[in-house]
């Protein structure tokens, strides 16, 4: 693919190819010809506002059709997009414009108060009438004749804080091509996206759908289940928690029903006649098939580890769920596909991707071009630790390849919490937040097993003071309310300090997190007391 020609390509696509979005509660379907016209109109508008190639344009909005149109228009004009996630909602328009040297900031009309800004002429509505808009003329430090940098995105990376990534056009193109080649789209495919398109993986997927002529549905999470059932997509990309919701439904069936379904489901899998086998599975697991629309042929999950039980249940239901692996900085790395998949692995390497393993087992991913050329607003040394050379990137994940070329992830190099929702949080961030409580001597934070929550093991300054425990719990509850990504479930109190003698510190005096988790989270911790909640 060539991102610079994406709009022309859309214009050449069969008019029957569709983009569907929900607008004010109604489904709106547009052909690619209509999308092409809308992108051209957006280009003309941007140009009339004074936007020129190389200028930066911020977009701060939820999923909507106009987000896609302006994204494509910026690519067409070779201007740079800066995709702001919800994390930026607290910043004013002026703060965003100044901090990121924006020429324009695009926002939805529902946030019209964002026009109340010193630089209001640089704030335009994505989906409403605009008047007196003027892009702030900014000199670009150097001309990017080849449009190598297409924009900036933000990711919760290894530092646990948001950091910026500069996007590399050729890396985006290589990643889209490799994933699409392996996924092998069919003419009747229809891709559903529901995660925020400010998250770059979602944009990669719609670039692929628009370039390769696949129908596209874009919704916000609140319409997800309705869109699945009513619009019958064939391809879905979602975090493990979505698929686990189906697993939960299954396990909440009465035991006899579950047992029957398992017996019939497994027997059906063993049948040599595939059409009969599928028919039986669709009948036994009708609810799940219907909830997913009934046409699903390729569901992909990644972003966080997927439970083996979930993958096995989907296999038994004959619902095609496959694990993938990639990182925003690099793009896709490996993918399981129909006919080439192993449960427990993240699949074979995508075309053009190679890996090698560092001495400590860390996966070093290699491709001629990766998605991000570098970081900005990151911790010191992070660029050097990650971007080893032009084509080599340190993933931070530890893994191995088997004899057949399937990649397995076996751990993280750094002590990182990955929640069930796929959010990456360095434990030091919530730990320092809890340690700010004057009653706390030390805290250690973990992901709560099988739950979308964090668990904290806390050593109070005075372990005998019951009222201090209540205050700490209240403090942690407030943290959960202020920062939903830091939602805590259990707070487990320890009455013994972490030391080398009790094995909670390593000989180098660093926390032995695995040992602490084994001791306290299993519920067998002596001298510990857990409070499920306050009040």
């Amino acid at each position: 693919m060539d991102l610079r020609k994406l709009t022309s390509r859309i214009g050449e696509q069969n008019r029957k190819k569709m983009v569907r979005t929900f607008e004010k509660g109604k489904l709106v379907t547009r052909g690619h010809d209509c999308v092409y016209n809308d992108v051209r109109a957006a280009c003309a508008r941007l140009e009339s506002w004074g936007l020129r190639p190389g200028m930066l344009v911020g977009i701060l909005a939820g999923n909507c059709y106009e987000w896609i149109v302006y994204d494509l228009a910026l690519l067409e004009m070779q201007a740079l997009s800066v995709a702001f996630t919800d994390d930026f909602a607290g910043m004013s328009s002026d703060q965003l414009i100044d901090r990121y040297s924006l020429s324009l900031l695009l926002v939805p009309v529902s946030e019209k108060e964002r026009k109340n800004a010193r630089q209001s002429e640089a704030v335009a509505f994505l989906d409403g009438e605009n008047s007196s808009i003027n892009a702030i003329p900014r000199e670009q430090p150097q001309k990017d004749w080849e449009f190598e940098t297409t924009g900036m995105v933000f990711s919760s990376g290894s530092s646990g804080r948001l950091k910026g990534l500069r996007l590399w056009r050729q890396g985006i193109e290589a990643s889209v091509d490799a994933f699409t080649k392996m996924a092998d789209p069919r003419p009747d495919d229809c891709l559903l996206l529901f995660l925020p398109i400010s998250n770059f993986q979602q944009r990669l997927m719609y670039y692929s759908a628009l370039w390769y002529g696949v129908d596209l549905i874009v919704t916000d999470p609140s319409r997800l289940f309705r869109a699945l059932k009513e619009l019958q997509p064939t391809v879905l990309i979602a975090p493990p928690m979505l698929y686990e919701a189906f697993e939960t439904r299954f396990y909440n069936l009465p035991a006899w029903k579950r047992w029957m379904a398992r017996v019939i489901g497994r027997s059906a899998l063993a049948l040599p006649q595939k059409s009969l086998s599928k028919k039986i599975a669709r009948s036994v697991f009708r609810d799940a098939h219907e909830a997913l629309g009934g046409r699903m042929r390729f569901m992909v999950t990644g972003m966080a580890p997927t439970k083996r039980a979930t993958l096995e249940l989907f296999r038994m239901m004959q619902l095609p769920l496959f694990e993938t692996y990639g990182i925003t900085e690099f793009g896709g790395i490996a993918l399981n596909v129909p006919g080439a998949s192993k449960i427990g692995s993240v699949g074979r390497l995508l075309p053009g991707v190679r890996v090698e393993f560092a001495e400590d087992g860390e996966i070093i991913a290699m491709r001629e071009h990766r998605i991000a050329s570098t970081y900005f607003e990151c911790a010191e040394g992070e660029v050097e630790q990650t971007f080893l050379s032009r084509d080599r990137l340190a993933t931070g994940d530890v893994g191995r390849l088997d004899d057949e070329g399937y990649l397995y992830l076996t751990g993280r190099k750094k002590e990182m919490i990955i929640t069930a929702g796929g959010a990456k949080i360095h434990p030091e961030i919530p730990e320092s937040a809890i340690d700010a409580c004057s009653d706390v001597a030390r805290s250690v934070v973990f992901a709560e097993p099988d739950a979308p929550l964090l668990a904290a093991v806390v050593l109070p300054r005075n372990p005998d003071d019951e009222s201090a425990r209540a205050r700490i719990r209240e403090f942690v509850d407030k943290l959960s309310e202020q920062k939903p990504a830091m939602a805590f479930g259990r707070v487990i109190f320890s009455d013994q300090a972490f030391s080398r003698e009790n094995g909670f510190l390593r000989p180098n005096l660093k926390l032995d997190r695995r040992r602490i988790a084994e001791h306290f989270l299993s519920g067998s911790g002596n001298g510990s007391k857990s409070l499920a909640r306050s009040s």
């Binding site: 919701a245 909440n252 099988d450 959960s480």
Partner: protein, 97 residues
Amino acid sequence: MEVEARIDEQIIDLIASGVSGKFRKVKITRQTNLQKELGLDSIGMLALVFRFEELFGIDIEKQGIDINIAKLKTVEDLIHAGRDIVSRATGAESRDA
């Protein structure tokens, strides 16, 4: 009152069917916290709302009802929201008829 009690019961059944793993042991009361005590994540909440729509035959967005999932903290919150949605949808239907 009887109708409301039936709605409450149906909502509690819906919640119970979406609770996973170790959280199944938790006794569901009106004060039970959906996320902390029942482990319902954002997708779990969306699934719950969608099953509610299916059960009662209501398209919440089409009815113009604004529901903020982030504000639904407890079983009680969900019951109140559910009752409100059903009564507004029923009111709209009778107006349309």
